[in-house]
């Protein structure tokens, strides 16, 4: 039996009266990619900070590489790499100086960290900018440098806290490809994200976290199956009809339909797809509601998220009210 890369057992962490993590338990197997999915304030960053020895849990146990985060913090630090949500690279140093410093602090020999810094700059398409100060870098370049810094020590376990938040799609794809390459070389990855597609693309397994608790877990397909069936999606032509349309189709689902006024849309998890589609179409037509679109689709992780947490994943409005005021989380 191979020991797990990360084991979290009933970990709780509170900031003042705000509970950031409540009795969270999870395991990341060696070589696995696990995504923690959740809105701002869900507790994702708090968990990463505990596992990277930056924060001590109030109760519960956490082990990284079979080492206890409190007793063996230093030994853990030589096993892990951390790339943060806010790129923590030194603005006044050049890209190369940043990487060489981190390499030195991983206790690599000088010739070794110089070589690795050089290679990392090439690999991250930063070779041309390597000797320029980081303050002249774009957001994407900074993020790539931050990731490169976390990899200088070739850590077997990598923690990525929202690695692509705020990046353009191309840079995002580049980073995804790079992370996949690391995984193929035997790196275990625990990442947090607010993006469904990112979790679906990168992760072997997904844990949905909401206000400090695990609300669902499994592979992307498992999570979709847990919803049971499909999603009925309606777009009305006239926004005024939205509520009436939702009321009409409510009978076909077991939970309340979800309204999205911006898209003039209603979506509803349903079972028995074809029959429901026809019945819904007939009911809407009989009431004289004009439609732009009517379809049955497989649930997305977004639907999973909305069903399990009652609110959207990356909807900033919802997230903002749930973030911890002044807290260190996100």
């Amino acid at each position: 039996m191979v020991a797990a890369a990360v084991e979290v057992d009933r970990v709780t962490k509170q900031f003042g009266s705000t509970v950031a993590l409540r009795d969270v338990s999870l395991t990341v197997e060696a070589g696995e990619v696990l995504a923690l999915l959740g809105p701002n304030g869900a507790g994702k960053t708090t968990l990463i900070r505990i596992l990277t020895t930056l924060l001590i849990p109030d109760s519960g146990r956490a082990r990284v590489g079979s080492l206890d985060v409190q007793q063996d913090a230093r030994a853990i630090r030589s096993l892990i790499g951390l790339a943060g949500q806010f790129a923590s690279v030194d603005e006044l140093l050049t890209g190369r100086e940043n990487l060489e410093l981190v390499g030195l602090l991983y206790h690599l020999e000088k010739s070794e960290y110089r070589r690795r810094a050089h290679d990392a700059l090439e690999q991250m398409m930063l070779a041309g900018a390597g000797d320029k100060p980081v303050k002249t870098y774009s957001g994407g370049m900074r993020r790539r440098l931050d990731l490169a810094a976390s990899l200088i020590g070739r850590p077997p376990i990598l923690f990525l806290d929202e690695p692509t938040t705020g990046l353009d799609p191309r840079t995002r794809n580049d980073l995804w490809a790079f992370i996949e390459e690391l995984v193929s070389e035997g790196t275990t990855v625990l990442l947090t994200t607010q993006y469904m597609d990112e979790a679906e693309h990168l992760a072997d397994r997904i844990i949905v976290l909401d206000t400090g608790s695990i609300v669902a877990q499994g592979t992307a397909d498992d999570l979709k199956d847990q919803l049971g069936g499909d999603v009925l999606e309606i777009r009305v032509s006239d926004l005024a009809d939205l509520e009436r349309a939702a009321a009409l189709v409510a009978q076909f689902g077991s939970v309340a339909p979800r309204l999205n006024p911006d898209l003039k849309g209603v979506s509803l998890p349903v079972t028995g797809s074809a029959k429901v589609l026809i019945a819904a179409g007939r009911a809407l037509d009989d009431s004289g509601i004009a439609l732009d679109d009517l379809e049955i689709r497989r649930p997305s992780l977004d639907d999973v998220f909305l069903t399990f947490t009652g609110h959207g994943a990356a909807t900033s409005g919802d997230g903002a009210t749930r973030s911890i005021p002044g807290g260190p989380d996100e």
Partner: protein, 269 residues
Amino acid sequence: MSDLAARRLSAETIPLTPRLALRDVRGITKRNLLRILRTPQLLVMSVAQPAIILLLLRYVLGGAIHIPGVDYVDYVVPGIFLEAVLIGGMTTALALAQDLQAGMIDRFRSLPMARSAFLAGRTLADLARSVLALFFIIGLGLLVGFRFHNTFAACLAGIGLIILFGYAFIWVYAAVGLAVKDPQTAQMAAILPMFILFFASSAVVPVATMPGWLQPFARNQPTSDVVNSVRALFEGGPLNPDLWQAIAWCCGIFVVFFIVSLNLYRRTA
């Protein structure tokens, strides 16, 4: 794939030897020195501020201040030397708060480096800057008429005491920066005690000229003991008991704030 991952997980960790810890300190010191060199405006500020106070006291206010038995320039300039190293320490608070806010401290704390190396590297780089500022102000002091009157060794000891005092206070500012966590607040929090310690002491005028309620504080705080000792070392005169008190203050402040800062650094969230 998971076999490879498991094998990589079981890698041995390198034990932290004193040699590696010193190497960490060197690495962090170099980083901070590069940062100091690349923000010349801060460097200029930390020299210009004591220079302005020096010129102000020498040429604007100094004419109205008479201290029996000593030239005012010889009285006040050693005080300005202390001010030069005190003001340099303020940038320690600022720099640490900046590192906290930028997430740099998270990065360093997640690395297998020696924990004390981060603060040691910070304070040593700041000490280098303070010493640089001190030598500049000594040069300016000599230009405006200040003179060393004692033996070379005694003057050297005086400069050594100023540097010791400056280094002890860098640790005070380190604790301030780590405690307040916000660069603007750090600057404000650092400037007030600095002014109180500097002006409510015998650095600028003798304590005996101050109101009665202020005298006990002004007489018994570190700046006064240090500046009295430094004057005695530069100009000749009795050293007891100020010198031993001064050294005790510096060592005490250093030890207390070293421990406080290290604890704050370990616990910063």
